[in-house]
Subunit: 643 residues, 2 copies
């Protein structure tokens, strides 16, 4: 039998293999009636070569902790990956025939749950940044485990995708951090959905990647050259690498090389024609058995060796604690007794102290800020800066790159860590798609957003969030916490770290208040009674965050003038499970918020909130201007009671 070794490869059979993969993936989209034929025909050799000769995976244990990661950032090409799954017996022909059908294992873009999918991709740019997160996590884990975790992260994108801002943000950071475990594979087809790429971009891509400290390799789309390019990238090993692979979108189709190839599903004639040029039989869903068996053998063998190597190193490792947590997916943490003093510190300072207490005991916690750690108080004091010279550092300076920071922590969470990032609440707008990915994949990431309302000082409307609290709340799965004081803050941190949900912790800039009535346990229920009523004739007042401080005073004022009331806090709306109507006992219920009134949807329609942008001014001026002083609120509430 002919042995495929490193030196001697049977590239002839590989070219046949690539065409088999092309044909199979085309059959899938033709069968589904929709899909993206262009990238199937251009990227097939890249996906094929990567998996045949490089990806270290254990097909008997897909969760193998030291497996190489593959992020299919150009997710619309996913039928190629499903083809690889089929080559490796990880999907059946029936699965392939269910492409794009509901609840199948083969959705239209890569989604968790399908073998070999390391990231749910499809929103362009996200995969690139998430792969940087994988690479960061791997560097950290590797250092922490005496070089046990040394996997590569490969990410595949089209050249058009490189127009997305988040790709610049994240790759510039990868260069700065010298992530030589990251290899970016670019399908250089010079076409976007709408036009030739050069209509929207005259960028010199090679120079671009040199400017951010990447090795740049260029090659054509033969298996041999792709393989050798990846080999070179791994051997050079001094920097992250980008490989530009010159391809033809929609190769051999009637739309070859044009933007019409992007979403193309070949018609019968075109399919026949393409298959002929690919040297394939016309019959659908057939592959060459020897191609497949050789492919599988190569992947199996390499994977087995990698697992053995890992096992050996693992046995020798003295402290297995961290890696065991990763292997067993034990990434929650229970806060014990806390040694924290209120001492009239602001809530964001107290948050910083809690974060540090956890970090000191929980080495999966690592994160940073989009250049606002000093304002968000998210610096981990006992730890260094994560940098190319110190991958044990646990403070990541993401730079003024909010969006990338979100997608990067997604990758870190996928790698088993409990990462966080931080910025001002208003700048969460920059990160929406990254946050949505966290929610979609239900990743245990933490967003710490401070400066959470108009009371951010005098910086004005562009720094003053109005709609952000509610618009985050709208994202499915995402838990949004907004505590009022230290008591609730502790409850939030407990909840967040005892569970694995994507979470936002939203904090004010200034509030230093604390109440004897608030409680940590209220966070679990989402809503709870802070101040009880004294009589049978009462109204309900609801708020969260810093507004609760004002409402507590308003409550007292109202009671003094004979308007009895209960006060409720909502530290986490998504935690509410009870029927709030019963809680409110049919009484008039008024929500008070410095943000969009919509936050109170399904709780109450009587809301005193903000439907306009803020202004630059002192907090006192602002609360007066927008009607949030004690006196004005009392009057507004009395007005509402007349209705």
């Amino acid at each position: 039998m002919f042995i495929i070794g490193k030196e001697e490869k049977n590239y002839e059979i590989d070219e046949k293999g690539v065409n088999n993969l092309r044909g199979l993936a085309l059959d899938m989209i033709v069968n589904a009636g929709s899909g993206h034929g262009g990238i199937i025909l251009s990227s097939a050799p890249i996906v094929y070569t990567l998996f045949k000769y490089h990806m270290n995976i254990d097909i008997n244990n897909l969760d193998f902790v030291n497996r190489d990661r593959f992020v299919f950032s150009a997710g619309h090409g996913v039928p190629l990956l499903y083809g690889i799954d089929y080559f490796l017996d990880l999907l059946t022909l029936d699965d392939l025939k269910s492409l794009r059908k509901i609840n199948s294992k083969t959705p239209g873009h890569p989604e968790f749950g399908t073998p070999l999918v390391d990231f749910s991709s499809g929103a362009l740019g996200q995969g690139i940044a998430t792969s940087v997160g994988y690479a960061i996590a791997s560097k950290y884990l590797d250092k922490k485990t005496n070089n046990l975790v040394d996997y590569y992260t490969y990410v595949l994108c089209g050249d058009g995708e490189l127009e997305e801002g988040i790709t610049y943000e994240s790759l510039a950071l990868a260069g700065t951090l010298n992530l030589n475990n990251l290899i970016v594979l670019v399908d250089l087809n010079e076409v976007t959905l709408d036009n030739k790429l050069n209509v929207s971009s005259s960028e010199d891509l090679k120079k671009r990647f040199e400017s951010i400290d990447f090795n740049v390799i260029e090659c054509d789309d033969s298996v041999k050259n792709i393989n050798e390019s990846i080999e070179t990238a791994k051997n050079k090993n001094d920097k992250p690498t980008v490989i530009f692979i010159k391809t033809k979108i929609g190769l051999y189709s009637k739309y070859e090389g044009t933007n019409k190839a992007h979403g193309m599903v070949p018609d019968a004639e075109d399919l026949k024609n393409i298959k002929e040029k690919l040297g394939l039989f016309e019959s659908s869903f057939t592959v060459n058995a020897s191609v497949v068996s050789e492919f599988k053998e190569e992947v199996l063998e390499r994977g087995k060796n990698k697992v053995l190597e890992f096992e050996e190193k693992y046995q020798k490792l003295e402290n297995k604690d961290l890696i065991d947590k990763i292997i067993q997916n034990k990434n929650t943490y229970s806060l014990g007794n806390l040694d924290i003093e209120y001492d009239r510190k602001s809530l964001r300072e107290l948050s910083g102290e809690l974060l540090n207490i956890i970090a000191n005991d929980f080495d999966l916690l690592i994160g940073g800020s989009a250049d606002l750690s000093s304002s968000c108080k998210t610096n981990l004091k006992e730890f260094d800066t994560f940098s190319s010279s110190n991958y044990l550092g646990r403070n990541i300076y993401f730079g003024i790159r909010e969006h990338a920071s979100a997608a990067i922590i997604n990758g870190m969470a996928l790698a088993g860590l409990r990462p966080f990032t931080s910025t001002f609440l208003v700048f969460s707008d920059y990160m929406r798609t990254g946050i949505r990915e966290s929610a979609l994949m239900n990743l245990p990431v933490l967003y710490i957003f401070t400066h959470d309302s108009i009371t951010v000082g005098r910086d004005g409307p562009l720094h003053q969030p109005i709609e952000q609290l509610t618009s985050l709340e709208l994202i499915p799965n995402l838990k949004v916490y907004r505590p009022f004081d230290l008591n609730e803050l502790i409850g939030c941190y407990k909840e967040i770290f005892e569970h694995k949900n994507p979470s936002c912790l939203i904090l004010p800039r200034e509030s230093k208040e604390i109440s004897e009535y608030t409680k940590s346990s209220g966070v679990v229920d989402g809503i709870y009674e802070v101040i009880p009523n004294d009589t049978d004739n009462f109204i309900n007042l609801i708020a969260n965050g810093e507004e609760l401080g004002i409402v507590l005073k308003v409550s007292k004022n109202l009671k003094e003038i004979g308007v009895d009331n209960k006060v409720f806090s909502i530290p986490c709306k998504k935690n509410i499970k009870i029927n709030t109507n019963e809680l409110f006992m049919g009484r008039k219920t008024i929500g008070i918020t410095l943000g969009s009134p919509n936050y109170f949807f399904n709780i109450t329609n009587d809301v005193i909130g903000m439907n306009e942008f803020g202004k630059s001014g002192s907090n006192t001026e602002l609360l007066e201007e927008f009607g949030f002083t004690e006196e004005k609120l009392v009057n507004q509430i009395l007005e509402l009671l007349k209705k």
Copy 2:
């Protein structure tokens, strides 16, 4: 008298002038008690030189249509601009002393309403992209008016700001379009808020700008060298230019050159010390009279010449129609009788036809897409591609740069045009901050978002908007239109172009329906009755967009089984002025949406909506899976009626 000519400049007095500006701006933030001392000390020579020797403005007519534009992207340095305003008698000392006070002319970041402010900035990156929009608009207008509109756009940012993804997106486009009327001034201080810049970025900035076809100039922070660099940029004239000006953040302060300088307000001792080094008197709010008078004279003189030159050219211009519209700010358009056939076309195709009808008659309309014009149907068929070889083109290929496209159309609108951009609704998440800027400045921009629900075909959850409709609705000032059919679509286009509001037009991928009951005029009211009740015992059903089509069928079904009902459409929630409670006559009212139920806040709490992400599948499968078939909806409504 000493005449300041082009050859002979008194740079000595200028250096004094720069220090005067520094002192004045420092006095402002000390007086305000907050602000950003770092950039005041570093950027002063840039702002000073630009305004003294280059900005063509008419201080007697600040709206002069051919004035140079200055976008202060690093908006936290705005006291410098207020200082220039004071030099030019455009603000008083009292104004300067009101810095950061509510409702003053001198808010904490640049806001419209203050003289010389061409953009409300402060969210980093936005100003850069918006300046690209200004430059695009100027190229278009210049070509349309026989070279009448030839202003420069200058944008000032810090080097840290260049980490933002939107700066790469927009500047790469500027290079591609060869916008030689754009000059980017970078305060190269090598420090960010959190750290040294090199901790988060090792990028070679010079190479970066070369890779996107910019001229690159480097200089120190002397007035002479800054002036000559700008002069060179204008003379070269073959490409856009970036000028890196080496500065020291917080110069002469105790935090000089460190990140602590960013938000620094000097204490008394430090202020004294700085002023001493600047050669200034200690007394606050004093400036050298001869510096100021010479400054003003220079600016006045140059501006006068520029106006004269413009007037001369203007008189010679044959067709003044377009420029007059710009000068008079007449950027609305009234749709006349429409020659449009329904012909079972999809709503997005019909939208494309309407957009074309308007474009053919209204030359202020220009726009494009973030690489989805073919899907969003926003191509203007009678016009060419806007490119470096054809600035008369009216189709802009923004590239896969959603965020930049938003901020760029803001700049185009600021320049007097009626621009639009388009993409899929789910990708509006990439553009949030740009959209928020449109809303904050109330700019007449149009966002066309298609593929507006789970029924986007089989692409899966990352392509399926859930929370986006509501989260856009939350943004103050932003009008969000979601028509059901051609009748309502016409109403939307009328409303949009007859007014000057920032607008989103949200359209489905597939719906081809039309109803005999819908009406264009319903858009003005925001909500209107589509199907009346037949008896006195009825319920209300409400929907918009494609859901209305399902609800119309459900309505019929319900009537057939004896549940009488009214159907309402909400083509534009923000247009609703009437009390909906009265409209609903106290009857059970049920909202039906394929998005977040919160959309119906303040309308009804009984909502059948989506609180989870979508799935990959056919539309039929999806509607079945999530309960939006006629039968399932009828059953859900009957259930709700039991409560």
